[in-house]
Amino acid sequence: MQAELGPILKAAYPQVVATLTRVLGDMDRAMDATQDALVKALQTWQVEGVPSQPVAWLVTVGRNRAIDVLRRDAKSASWETITGDADNVVHLADEHPAERWSSNLDVAEINLSELEDDMLRLIFTCCNPLLTPPMQITLVLKVVLGFNTNEIARTLLTSPATVEKRITRAKQRLKDAEVEYVVPRGEELPERLQAVLRAIYLLFNEGYTRILDGNLMRGTAMAEAIRLGRMTSRLFRHNPEPRSLLALMLLNNARLPGRLDAQGHFVPLHAQDRARWDQAMIREGVALIDAVYAARHPPGAYQIQAAISAIHSQAATAEDTDWPQIVALYGKLAEYDASPVVPVNQAAAMCFVGQTHQAVELLETLAEAPQLRDYQPYHAACGYAYALVGSRDKARAAYHLAIELANSPPQKAYLQARLKDLVDDPAHESGR
C-alpha cells in the first residue's frame, strides 16, 4: 500500500527544521535545506517507499544538501566560517562522503529526547519575549509549520507585505540580541512557556473572533493553533497547562457552530442549539481536562478556563448548567488571572444563580477599570444585570454603550434586540 506522502512530510516538517537549525546554526538555511530534502523525499519515497525513520532521513539529506550549498557558495571565505556551528558541520560532512545523495542513506538512529529538545529550542526561539505577539505568531507559522508568506497573510488576514516586514524585523531582533538556540532553563522556563502558550491562544482567538465577525476563512488559524497545542502538549507532557490550553481550544472550537445562526447572527449561550456543537471535539476536550484533574496538578489559568468551558460543553441546556460551580471557578481564576475580564464573566454567571445584586455590585467595582471602558461585553453584562434588578435607565445606558462598541453586525443586532425588549416591555420584572 502506498501511503499518501503529504501528511507524513507535513508531520515531519517542524522536527526537521528544528534539528537542522541546530545542526546548521541558522534558521533560514535550515528552512531552505528542509525544502530541498522534501523535494528529494517526494522523488525517492514514491519509488522506494517511506523510510523507517522519515525525520532522520530528511535531516540527513537536508544537512548534506546544505553542506553542498555552503561549499558552492564559499568563494572568498571558507565555508566553515560561514556556518554558526562549524565544528558540527565539518563533522557531519565527513560522515557520509560519497553517498550523500544516495537514496540508500545510512541514517543514524536519532535520539528521541534530542529531537524533542530541538523542537523546544525552535518553539522558544520563535516565541522569544523580545518579539511582539504578532511577530511570534508569524514566525511560528513560517518556521514551525512551514507556511509561505501568502499562506500566513491569508491565515492572519493581513497583507503579504506586512508578513514580510514582521519576519524581517523579528529575525533582526533575534540577531541583534544574539539570541541563542537553547531551551530556557530553571526559573525562566515557566514564564517562557507562558509566552509560547499565549502566542498559540492568540492565534486561536484570531480565528475565533473573525469567524464570529462573519469571516469564515479564519478556520485555518484555529486548526493550526490546535495543531500547535497538540505539539506543545506532547512536548511538555508533565506540565498541565499546555494540555489545558488544548482542551480549552477544542471546547471553544466545538461550541462555535452554535454561536451563529443560519443567517450568521450571534446567538447567546442560553439560546444556542446545542445539537450543533461538535460532540467528538467536546469528548476529547473533556477527556483532556479530566486527565489533568485526575493527576491532581496544581491549578493554572488555562486549567480553570478549560474546566469552565467543559461545564458549559457538557450541559444539556443552559438551565442544566452547573452555574454555582462556574461562579466558583471564575472566583478561582481571578487568583491566577488579574484581568478585569474575569470578574465580568463571574458577574454574568452570578446572574444565572440569582445573585443579581451581587453581580451588579461586582460590576460596579469594575466601573473605573480602564481596560473595560471600551470592552463591549462589560457594558453588555451591565445592561443585563441592571435589567434584572430593575434599574432600567442604567440598563438602557449600558446597552447603548455596548451597541456602540460592538464591532460585529451579529453582536450589534443581538444587543439592539435586548435593548428593544427593555423598551417594549414596561413590565420587565426584576430578579430571577
Binding site: 500500500m1 502506498q2 501511503a3 499518501e4 503529504g6 501528511p7 507524513i8 507535513k10 508531520a11 515531519a12 517511506v50 525513520q53 528521541l112 495543531r227 497538540r230 505539539m231 502538549s233 506532547r234 507532557r237 508533565h238 498541565p240 494540555r243 488544548l246 469528548r283 476529547e284 477527556a287 483532556l288 479530566d290 486527565a291 489533568v292 485526575a294 493527576a295 491532581r296
Partner: protein, 119 residues
C-alpha cells in the same frame, strides 16, 4: 485463536491530515470491517484518543501513583486496536495488512494468551 492487532503511528501524522484525508482512512477501516463481517469473524475494534488524554497508574506499597501521558514515550504511539478471532497467524496478518495505518505506522500482531494451563 484470538489475536490483538495493535496500531502504532506517530500522532503527528493523523494531526497533519485534512478532514478529507482522515475520512479516507476511516473509509479504509470501513472496508476492513465489512470484510471481517463478510468472513464471519468475531472481532472488536476501537480507535484511541491521543496520548495527551492518557494517564498512567502505578501502585507502589499502599500508594496509587498517577502520571501524565502514556507509559512508554515512543516515536509511534498506540492509536487503536482490532481484536480478531481467526484460525491462524497468517489470517491475522492478512487482516492486519488491511489496516490503513500499516502504510504510515506499524501494526503489531500478538496472540491473546488464555492461560489455559493455569486454569
Amino acid at each position: 485463536m484470538q489475536y490483538m492487532l495493535l496500531i502504532y503511528e506517530a500522532e503527528e501524522i493523523w494531526e497533519s491530515k485534512s478532514d478529507e484525508e482522515k475520512r479516507a482512512v476511516l473509509a479504509d477501516h470501513g472496508v476492513l470491517n465489512q470484510r471481517l463481517q463478510a468472513d464471519g469473524i468475531d472481532y472488536s475494534a476501537g480507535p484511541l484518543m491521543p496520548t495527551t488524554t492518557s494517564i498512567s497508574l502505578r501502585k507502589r506499597g499502599a500508594e496509587l501513583q498517577t502520571s501524565d501521558g502514556p507509559f512508554a514515550e515512543t516515536k509511534e504511539q498506540l492509536a487503536g486496536f482490532y481484536l480478531v478471532d481467526v484460525e491462524s497467524l497468517d489470517k491475522a496478518m492478512e487482516y492486519a495488512a488491511m489496516i490503513p495505518h500499516v502504510a504510515t505506522g506499524t501494526i503489531e500482531v500478538r496472540p491473546i494468551d488464555t492461560h489455559d494451563d493455569l486454569m
